[in-house]
């Protein structure tokens, strides 16, 4: 492909399409419902977008390798039950238990990675199975009735703000920046793109594709676990079904952001824009006062429309 100015322009247009669409949606939302731009409303939307954004960033790593992680919602719920049960209201246990929980998330990610690479089980099936396994463990641990309580330390973590911006947003931006650095500047990132683009070729060129995939799944579970702790702090209680919707929504955010399910294509900022779009839509349909069924139809249409528009804009590239 000739590196002409035209090509460079089209490539930029393709990558920025999602942001343009997001801005258009914000404008539409602001015009249709003036409440949308109220400071507190933006605060709420951005907080929800950040928590989804952190999970979606982990999901991005997996999708870049051509895989998929359906177990993120189950991991989030597991964190909720474990943290409440183990911390049991004691502040001094917040850090140790949180570290243990993150460790457990890494183990789950490792299991996912091993199933996909060593046992060659398709990612969809492996992580779907993991959803049920983690759910089973969760129910055995809690007996279906979550016990314990969340100490103030974790509540603070989930609810605090720094300079009027929720802590979760700062963390999401940091996670995003870190992930962007890994993906664009580090060998690991290049290996991930290569493995996702063509696994066989990447392997032949000396990349340890198994290790790269395992790292991707571990990152996905880690960020899901981290978000699980954040969400638990925000809600303030144990919930067996915390994180419901985060599985499909994180995948949607990644794909809206420009990734392809076969791998090798996608980026962090697009993913975060996708997360913002999903959070915005949820907020917007409630503000419009639509009834529940209309809400779902509008959300579905907008997501399809936005991605359709994006595909058309990048097809010209």
């Amino acid at each position: 492909m000739k590196l002409t100015a035209g090509y460079a322009w089209r490539k930029t247009a393709e990558q920025s399409a999602i942001f343009v669409i997001l801005v258009i949606l914000v404008v539409i939302a602001a015009v249709a419902s003036p409440v949308f731009l109220k400071e507190r409303n933006i605060y709420n939307v951005v907080l929800q977008a950040s928590m989804l954004g952190i999970v979606a960033t982990g999901q991005l790593f997996v999708i870049l390798t051509g895989g998929i992680d359906l177990s993120v919602a189950s991991v989030i719920a597991f964190m909720s039950i474990l943290s409440a049960g183990l911390m049991n209201g004691r502040n001094e246990l917040v850090y140790p238990v949180a570290l243990a929980c993150l460790g457990i998330s890494l183990v789950i990610g490792l299991a996912n990675g091993l199933l996909v690479t060593k046992l060659r089980i398709p990612a969809f099936i492996a992580t779907l199975g993991m959803v049920l396994i983690v759910q089973g463990i969760r129910f055995i641990y809690s007996g279906g009735m979550p016990k314990g309580s969340i100490p103030d330390g974790l509540l603070f973590f989930g609810r605090a703000s720094l300079l009027w911006i929720p802590l979760a947003v700062w963390i999401c931006l940091a996670v995003g920046a870190l992930s962007a650095v890994i993906l664009q500047r580090m060998t690991l990132g290049r290996s991930i793109y290569a493995a996702g683009g063509n696994m066989r070729t990447a392997y032949m060129s000396g990349i340890n594709t198994d290790r790269v995939q395992i790292i991707a799944y571990m990152l996905s579970s880690f960020w899901a676990g981290f978000t699980g702790l954040l969400l638990t702090g925000w809600v303030g209680m144990a919930d067996n079904w915390l994180g419901r919707g985060y599985d499909l929504n994180s995948i949607a955010a990644v794909v809206i952001g420009g990734a392809v399910m076969t791998g090798g294509k996608g980026n962090v900022w697009g993913t975060l824009a996708g997360a913002c779009m999903i959070a915005l839509l949820f907020n917007f349909v409630v503000l419009l006062g639509l009834d529940a069924d209309a809400q779902r139809i509008v959300r579905g249409l907008v997501i399809i429309g936005a991605v359709g528009l994006y595909v058309r804009m990048s097809a010209r590239a």
Partner: protein
Amino acid sequence: MKKTILRVLIIVALAAVVAGNAFSQTVDTAKYKKAPPWTIGFSNASLSNTWRVSFVEQLRYSIDEAKKKGLIKDYYETNANDDPTKQVADVEDLITKDVDLLIVSASSSEALTPVVEKAMDQGIPVVMVDRNISSDKYVTFLEGSSKNMAKLQADWLVQQIGGKGNVVLITGLAGASPAEDRLASATAVFQAQPGIKILAREYGDWSVVKSRQIMETLIQKYPKIDAVWCDSMEAVGAMQAFQAANLPVPPITCEDANQFLKLWKNDPKLNARCVTFSVRQGSRGVEIALKILQGQPVPHLFLVPNTVITRQNLDQYVRMDLPDSFYAETQPEVTKRLFPGK
């Protein structure tokens, strides 16, 4: 003349007896009578919230008690994870297992109607518990009365705001008959008041997180919310939304969820009322099932009474020593099974 009058009186008396029976809608179950021990199948919609876990544990407890008496030999339980398609398959599986009776809590009224009717056609008596199908073809439908629960909650709210003001309604999972029945019942109460404006009717999925997100958005849109009707633990999410926005919590309703009762006890300024949707309907369902298999007549519709919890009798129901997931109407024996060591 006297004979005519006598005949007329007899016909009127007979008509009254027939009408009386239809009115009380008792079902004659003689055709289902079988010798014990029986095989019972229970198709559960899901265990997706702690109310359901308590409700199912009540049911299991009653099954175990019946097993001890030698009345039940086999018990099969399926869980559809809120998936109507799976639940239809579950019911088919239970029919294949040659159960003597089916207890069903439907994840979706429409989707489960054909398969339940099929079971009835095949001579398997069906007891609908907690969540119903959309037709009338079952032996008994038993619930804690969603309609009464919502009406008691809504009536109290109307009284609290003097029949005038703005109301937000948040109910459970869309398509589940308790959520829909409660929403309809509460809506009817508010619509009957000319001074009350319904600002929004949302589905909180019986999730504190979702309810909080919805309520936070609604608080931004509507500066004046005078009352919040929630059928259940959505009230916790709604409360958190008001508190996060530094606003006082308006009069609010809930059910006997311990997490709400604890918050209520710790906040003397909170104006709330809880009405229960008794978890014990799990046990009542088994009792009715046993009666059916013994050929005793049972009502077509059985309503387990709702208990009202107010600030005055709160102390009888709240359990500060038990976790948030406890439901105050759980029987003590079942509480021990759910929370060992308490």
